[in-house]
């Protein structure tokens, strides 16, 4: 299915990728770019980390790690320490990936666009979160407790079919909403850039009003994109912690 929006005589296609052998190559190379940036920051930190006065990058990372630790301590408790690296890695990786939106020019295929505007990336991240969540739930409650958890609540046991349905929907919705929320935000960000770029064809009596509009609106929208990217990365990491909290702390 091709999404085509007719706007100002321009065709705007969304979700188009450079594909070979069933792989979205543009997504993969921008993912690689994000990986390189995150790991390079990691290497730099590893080399420069000091217990003295930290640099700006170290300070930013330390604040992020401490924020995650505080959140994990406050919700899951001491047993949640293993979640911290996952939440930190998710936040940093998604943040860097999201901020690639600044490099977008609104073309059909961005050379370096946010990889998180591909459902494959966000769904992969959601799987990486939700599978350990269920493993943690089983380890916390035992297999019997894990199954009972879906059958015997929130309604009495007589309504176990309803319970299974409600809980099933909830558990399926968790990774799906996690993936789609991030994907949708970043996809629409790219779509907005495309729309703003498409304004360029707009002329009134040969006066290129549209070009001016594009030049003016593009940076404004990108600043907005930076905020959206940060918020979405934060939400993803926060929900990860909360899902682990639900899985690990409802034993009683």
């Amino acid at each position: 299915m091709t999404s085509v929006v007719h706007f100002l005589a321009a065709d705007i296609n969304v979700g188009t990728h450079v594909q070979r052998h069933g792989l979205d190559l543009d997504t993969i190379w921008s993912t690689l770019a994000a990986m390189v940036i995150v790991m390079a920051m990691g290497l730099y930190l590893r080399a420069k980390a000091t217990k003295g006065v930290p640099g700006k990058l170290q300070l930013a990372w330390e604040m992020g790690v401490q924020a995650v630790q505080t959140q994990v301590q406050g919700t899951i408790g001491p047993s949640g320490a293993a979640v911290v690296p996952l939440a930190v890695a998710l936040f940093v990786f998604i943040l860097v990936a999201n901020w690639f939106s600044v490099l977008g020019i609104g073309s059909e295929i961005e050379w370096i666009g946010p990889p998180t505007s591909d459902i494959n990336v966000t769904l992969a991240l959601a799987f990486i979160v939700i599978i350990p969540v269920h493993i943690a739930s089983i380890r916390n409650r035992g297999v019997v407790g894990y199954v009972k958890h879906y059958v015997s609540q929130p309604f009495p046991k007589a309504l176990f079919l309803v319970n299974i349905f409600i809980n099933g929907v909830e558990e399926i919705a968790k990774p799906l909403t996690l993936a789609l929320r991030l994907f949708g935000n970043l996809l629409s960000g790219g779509l907005m850039l495309a729309l703003i770029a498409a304004l360029g064809v707009w002329t009134i009596a040969h006066v290129p009003i549209g070009d001016v509009a594009t030049l003016a609106l593009n940076p404004v929208w990108k600043i907005f994109d930076l905020a959206i990217g940060a918020i979405q990365a934060f939400i993803f990491a926060l929900l990860t912690i909360l899902y682990f909290d639900t899985a690990m702390s409802e034993a009683h």
Partner: protein, 176 residues
């Protein structure tokens, strides 16, 4: 080749992305976060010990200030004592000097009195020793004949005694 299948349907890229993120996660968890945590803990320790040192220094300063205040108070107290004792000594010396002065005065006055009394006595004695002869010579000139000193000695002595008595009572009356 570009293709736009339904953008909500994942494809094999999903697997690549899972691997890619697991690499990032593993790298951060193994190589970066432990280092970061270590520096954080070390810095917290450093800050903790620095705060402790500051607290110690503060209490030491407070102690020193307290001691200084005490020393100062002690010094003031001693100074007051010294001034008080000096005042007392000065008063005592004053009193002694006054006493000595009074004694000296009394002694001088007494000696002067004694000298005066002695002088008067000597004068009276001298006068009384001469007054007899004087009276006789005056009487001889007045009467025109020799007065026998021996026969009239009793009379003269009586007059001298009377004179001496009058001088003695008058000198007793004025000596005080």
């Amino acid at each position: 080749m570009t293709a736009s299948s339904n953008f909500l349907i994942p494809n094999a890229t999903l697997i690549v992305e899972i691997v890619a993120f697991l690499i990032v996660l593993g790298f951060l968890a193994k190589y970066v976060l432990p280092v970061l945590n270590k520096t954080l803990e070390e810095r917290q320790e450093q800050i903790g010990s620095a705060l402790e040192a500051a607290e110690t220094a503060r209490s030491e300063a407070a102690e020193a200030s307290h001691q200084r205040q005490e020393t100062l108070d002690e010094a003031r107290r001693q100074a007051r004592e010294i001034v008080a004792s000096a005042n007392k000594a000065a008063e005592r010396i004053n009193a002694q000097a006054e006493e000595r002065g009074r004694l000296e005065y009394d002694r001088l006055v007494a000696r002067a009195d004694a000298e005066i009394a002695g002088a008067r006595q000597r004068a009276v004695d001298e006068v009384s020793s001469k007054v007899g002869a004087l009276v006789i010579s005056v009487a001889r000139q007045v009467i025109g004949r020799e007065i026998d000193e021996a026969s009239h000695r009793g009379l003269i002595d009586e007059a001298v005694a009377a004179l001496r008595g009058s001088v003695g009572t008058s000198s007793n009356g004025t000596s005080n």
